[in-house]
Symmetry: D2
Subunit: 372 residues, 4 copies
């Protein structure tokens, strides 16, 4: 006798766990299968920025989605703390995107017109708010942006889903999909065979490898990012400071996270000497007092990026019963709450709100490669 689920989710990263949690809230029977353990990859490596306004020249729809997802965090924090006791350390302390050149200023102008929660700060205003920051020519102040403890956020979502009835199987890699006449009926693993109405691939940068098992090929690619953390005697910044190529995120207990490099097209999870050197030089230039901090450690995460830059969230064309939620790149933590709700909506047959339709799979990106 095989168990039948409403949904099987492949991957217990922040996206998979958020989907599981939203489905569980709607009384769906959910199974998460995870190759290693909860949040083992990018979800734990992330700095946890809720940085709606960190990207330049982004799609307007994505910006609105980011705003919407960010605003879901306070209620979500209360919910999961109630269920699990876990405080995922939500800070709504704002973010300042520093400008050092006229082109930086111009780039910020566009965000001022697109977003309601930002304002421009002169250099003097930056200096009043963040006196330790080095010379600049002003900055974009996203006063509602913030950050969370990425690992605890992922854990809290996973544990909340489990408390509401979801099942989680760690150390359970996918062996193959059960495909019948173009319909995905479930999955095979070493632990057993499981059937579901919908199988959702939420494998982060490894989603492409997972989809290979169903005969699909994507143009998605991994982007490695390196970070390090510093312990301070006392706070030297109160808000996230963002610049091109380097951001500094203040965390609980006077820890400061500094990220992140960008190395596309590699799954390499080692931390390069060059990456740390570049980050360190940039960070100390922006915040000279950082030099007095204590080195804690360096680490690396691999983020999933789509060819088009927008996440894939929705049903896979050409294979009924198979969905995907990946490609969140640097916005995985930020977009996790909304992604969870969107996928739950999709599975209930609801229309995804027009302001955000990344569920539309680009056929150039998602071509059926052959027969299983």
């Amino acid at each position: 006798l095989n168990v039948h689920y409403d949904a099987i989710i492949i991957g217990a990263g922040v996206i998979g766990c958020s989907i599981a949690y939203q489905l569980a809230k709607r009384n769906k029977k959910v199974l998460i299968v995870e190759r290693s353990k909860i949040g083992n990859k990018a979800s734990t490596a992330a700095a946890g920025m809720l940085g709606v306004h960190t990207e330049l020249g982004e799609d307007a729809g994505l910006l609105q989605a980011c705003l919407k997802s960010r605003d879901m965090f306070p209620a979500l924090s209360d919910e999961v703390k109630e269920i699990t006791g876990i405080d995922f350390e939500l800070s709504q302390n704002g973010m300042i995107k520093l400008a050092f050149s006229e082109s930086d200023v111009l780039a910020s102008q566009r965000l001022l017109s697109l977003s309601k929660d930002v304002e421009w700060l002169t250099e003097r205003e930056v200096s009043l708010l963040e006196p330790s920051v080095s010379r600049n020519i002003g900055g974009l102040y996203a006063y509602k942006d913030g950050n969370v403890h990425a690992g605890k956020f992922t854990l809290a979502l996973a544990k909340s889903a489990i408390r509401l009835g979801s099942e989680l199987k760690e150390y359970t890699p996918l062996l193959s999909f059960i495909l019948e006449h173009g319909v995905c009926k479930g999955i095979r693993t070493h632990e057993g065979t499981y059937y579901a109405n919908e199988v959702i691939v939420a494998g982060g940068a490894w989603s492409g490898q997972i989809l290979k098992h169903a005969g699909f090929s994507t143009a998605d690619y991994p982007v490695k990012g390196e970070c390090f953390s510093v312990m301070l005697e006392r706070p030297i910044i109160n808000r996230t400071i963002f610049t091109n190529g380097c951001y500094l995120v203040p965390k609980r207990g006077d820890r400061l996270l500094v990220g992140a490099t960008e190395h596309p097209h590699t799954f390499d999870e080692s931390t390069s000497v060059e990456g740390i050197n570049i980050l360190l030089n940039k960070a100390i230039k922006i915040l000279p007092d950082l030099a007095n901090g204590r080195w804690e450690k360096a680490w690396t995460g691999v983020r999933p990026r789509t060819a088009g830059g927008l996440p894939h969230i929705g049903r896979v064309k050409g294979c009924s019963g198979l969905s995907i939620a990946t490609g969140h790149y640097r916005n995985g933590i930020l977009l996790a709450p909304l992604t969870g709700v969107l996928m739950a909506d999709v599975l209930e047959g609801k229309e995804i709100e027009p302001m955000f339709e990344p569920g539309e799979m680009d056929e150039r990106m998602m071509i059926r490669e052959g027969k299983d």
Copy 2:
């Protein structure tokens, strides 16, 4: 020019940091000097139990002090979270002290008569509350006891004190006291010489070694304790389960701490194979489902114990300007809030409340040894 402080505290463990915080709240100028770093020893190793009712045959005054200190935690949690953002994970989930023999039952009777916050549970009642616990003959239910994350609690106190103006010098071992005509005027360190109205020794198990520098000898001794932690898929107990020789403390994120062995008269900070073996066997006997958990790690702490069993809190007889706060043994975390207030009262010349006078130094325990 030398700096002059209201108080110098030797030791940035939970006791030293709590005293610093209470003094800082009263606008005192405080310096903490610490041999290594904040909470480096027993304060971080502790399971963080607020176990008012865990000890048998304890002094009634100590019990009242424990109750009083425990009830200070909720307000303290709010205060330090407000100041530092740190949530030290206070749980007020109760503690059940299991009875396996008639003598266990009799021992609990005494606590039923002494404390207002406890009740007796029959085996069936224990089983309703904690169905995973193995066969017993009832238990003492201290429904108001709880636990905190010991390391975060210590850090939050330290950081709060600093935010309120205290200074902390880590990696600054004491070289010698400045003693003049029987008066302690300050301390010498490699970083400099510091003067204060009062020097407070809060060095945990190492307090005796520190007091040696002032020519005092104590009969205090270290008691090594070993612990381990387990990660669970889902909670198997909701309250702390306490037995003679083994307690199990549920923590955030389905972590379970299991403690603690007792090895008196050793500063050995290694974890013995025997200690882990004994604890593991006991823990699995009490809670068979623990066997399915994931081993996380084992560690060791060294707790300060006085010859009389009660903590030393107060002025050192025979040396004006020198105070001591140590000997809290298994109650360091629990008694930290009250100890902070008591020491601040002592320094302001207030009388310590009659219900708890451990400040009285026993001369048998604290005999001036003479010039070495």
Copy 3:
């Protein structure tokens, strides 16, 4: 332009690295691709026993292969130390397989008749050699068995292969095989497409998942094993002590490794509380002085086991250009030297010596599942 290799090896564990080294010695152009990093799984988790005589009722051919491979270690140690400077800590200190029952004695009799390098010890003789061992009824003394540092052994093989011209690509998971008309021509990865005369799957317990990509299914399965290590003040045993379910391996610097549990059919890499508890109880019963040691750490490895119990070494039937070397179970370290030579022989078209023909793939275990 695509690079063409003599051989591509999938997996930089001890088996893959040994094959690479032997091929490199024969001037073959080799590429190793590895999903994570050198020796990341069982090769580093292993206790490193060269335990020819640890298994009961084993195949006689396997025993001869084990003897042969064991005797290759001294020369191999010299070779790789010369090339890389790495000393992989070969000890030829012998192994005693203790008997506690008549059936244990009988089981050892068979090995006495099969192997030339063993002798029987009476209890008194055991006690003279290993006075700390608890009461027994004698033991089988494999005086030529020994052990190595498994992680250093793997690293030394990898580095030696590289110094002799092999290429290694870490963090490079297989995307797919290049299969044309039943012939394997190479592999595709995110780093590029690579062609070779032969592709060799040496993926340990994950070999089955890798072979899935070529449409093959095996009945191999993973067997999880848990271990722990202890630091001793001084040696308490000089030889490996082996019993059913627990062995104790003395390492350099008075470290003692204790292994290993057996949990078949799981890829779970966490360490169970139950596993540690069982091992600890057994180990202390065999060697009571172990209780005085210092707990260091516990860990887990996942070993590859074939349905028939014998390793798969040789060409895959039904797919020219594809070979496999896996299923070494508890003998991966021990059999690595011979496996390297055998695979190099196979690739050069030599006949594998008749005493050991694991290259014969069992068709029941290796059935073509479908089309790619």
Copy 4:
């Protein structure tokens, strides 16, 4: 009944262990007491350079001592490997001290005249030997210098001493000296009171604090040094590369150690962001290929430095029965073999060879402070 020893050594760092080993070889009854565990501080943090020629403007006597001690390593390596099985990874691969300016060249000239084991390399010759090194104007080639694994070296000495009969008590801090009429008779610890003909303080940077207990004050001071390590795919240098402020030491398995900063007068064992940043920038400038390596970790050690720059080795004036061996600064590993022999000679009443008399205590540095 109290035990009586030939010598009690305070401190199980590389110096204390080397002395213990040499005394044990001469059949002396030795006790080592150690506050924490073997090699816990600078002895493990050290890069392990046997850098006879790394210092500029050094005392000629010190240079001769360094040469003599360096040449003791090969035999010592054989001895301790025979006794304990531990290979402390002695490399005799040479050291090149790069010159970037005329003053660097002049500084090296002096060493060319003082030492027999060095020669000058032109830039072209440097480039032939070490092609990855960046542009320079030649270098001093100390072709006989080398390095060891500092932690293993210390462990091997400790374990060798123990095998030859020495006792080691870890986690046993000194409480006080037993001083009678200006004679040191032994020590008191929590573990007991121990008597000896000679008490030898070998406490590294903490020796001054230890001597305080005997009423002595020294002008010695700690010098903090930060290091980091990198894992390489293949070797990029074969010899130690030394420059002012940064050295790169190739280790087994393609690990590269980079050290070390100099922060005098602090016991701070944390690793500063500034220190890592400075070292990283220097190292990449000297060896650009380092940027492609993998970051492993950063750490810190605190080295003992004397006011005069030369180590203190010998009897303490004004206190019979008390000796000292400390102040080795950056040469602790290098000088450990000779220090062990010298101290053993001193204790046997032999004259220390005239070429090296650091045993002469400078009275300005070592003034009896009087009763505290």
